[in-house]
Symmetry: C2
Amino acid sequence: MMEYSIRELADLAGISTRTLRYYDEINLLKPARMNHSGYRVYTQREVDLLQQIMFYRELDVSLEQIKSIINDPAFDKRKALTDHYKRLLERRDHLDKLIAAVKKTIAHENGEVKMNNEEKFQAFKERLIQENDAQFRKEVREKYGDEAAELSNAKLLNLSEEQYHQMQETEKEMFAYLKQAMEIGDPASEQAQKAAAKHKEWLSYTWPQYSKEAHANLVDMYVADERFAEYYDRHGSGTAQFLRDAVHHMTKA
Amino acid sequence: MMEYSIRELADLAGISTRTLRYYDEINLLKPARMNHSGYRVYTQREVDLLQQIMFYRELDVSLEQIKSIINDPAFDKRKALTDHYKRLLERRDHLDKLIAAVKKTIAHENGEVKMNNEEKFQAFKERLIQENDAQFRKEVREKYGDEAAELSNAKLLNLSEEQYHQMQETEKEMFAYLKQAMEIGDPASEQAQKAAAKHKEWLSYTWPQYSKEAHANLVDMYVADERFAEYYDRHGSGTAQFLRDAVHHMTKA
DNA sequence: CATAAACGTTGACGCAACGTCAATGTCAAG
DNA sequence: CTTGACATTGACGTTGCGTCAACGTTTATG
């Protein structure tokens, strides 16, 4: 049975002993026991738990939130790991946007392209939306249960990087169709139905199985909850509602 | 001349007015002026400066450090942008390592691969080294002047993602040769000279021009400064010194 | 065995980077 | 003019540690 002193665990993980004592203090990561001298003793269980904590830290989750997650009786290590994976992919996507933004800013400075002030901050603000989404996802889980989240995560894990990008492309296409369809103004129009189909395709990347009912419920949620609406309405006021109508039309046909 | 109130600039950038007032207070980002009511007024100059600040924030640079950077009379916007680019690439590289770590941990949980505790934290600790390196890079600049840093940045900007990965591969190969050569123990050996050549090749990705003297100076620095030594000695105690000897041999021949 | 260095502990203060709120002046619209 | 939205300053509080003092325990060395 491998055991670690506080120094050993701190060195193993690349953090300070102060951090570990703090985590003990806030009941985030208790040692397995205190030995007869009052020294903390950590075991393999704590090692694995610390790794989880560090993934959450990397994803800027607050310690208080990490605590509630890992102390949840329903906490499942594998499930958590798939969640980390998903979020790291998203983080990577954000980073790509920042990289693109730097490049564009440089080109702008060189007089090669035009870039307005909105664009200068767009990539940073994307981060905000994604972080809000992380908290929101937790609430979705609470509201609709683990089933959707778990199935979604399990399938996403198997996505290759290329598939992930395809998923992003699909969403982009959906928004393009939505924009056109909204100019027409008819959720039953060909463009609107193409948008709905693209949304369905987008869902297929993460949903292990599709049902019309689930699809309809999802878009209802988009409209009912302001944060989803806000995310979609960035592409034009009323987008969330329009998508809902388009999907309802498709799923009732 | 476009001007922004504090609310407008905060919204533009996706941050709080409190943040902007704090930045004013600490002399990080002063408004262009205060109007007759005592309201802050920001202009295009401040917009661009704020973008810079936000890139630095994204890269976890402290505000105090950001302040000293952008207040440096030698501060050059374009130079800074190329630096952001470089660091964001590094950050992405780190993220890839974390993504790989999650995947491996999951496979480990499924009993598909073996993973020791060291490996479980390896990706997190890589981050530490890179962050130390960021601070160190600043000191390199101060010690050796801007020339090396600037030339390095300018060339790196034009690297494609593929070239960047090749650069990483080159470093990996160098370490492989170093390891073999150190078992032999002779800095003049064929393996050692291959390592030195790989190091030279690695440098060619960022150095616009190569000189033996610069190369020799660089490896001297690797040994003289503990942090470089530590980075290299992760691959085996004495690696930095051995590389220095190998390169000296090559550059004197 | 004795000693010194390295290990551990708790307690406490301090810091960075804001978030929050109170009190109050200013601006804009009805 | 009134009210709501805008702005200001001042001040307290939070999170997640870093740092250090005081002191007990363990380990390595002579």
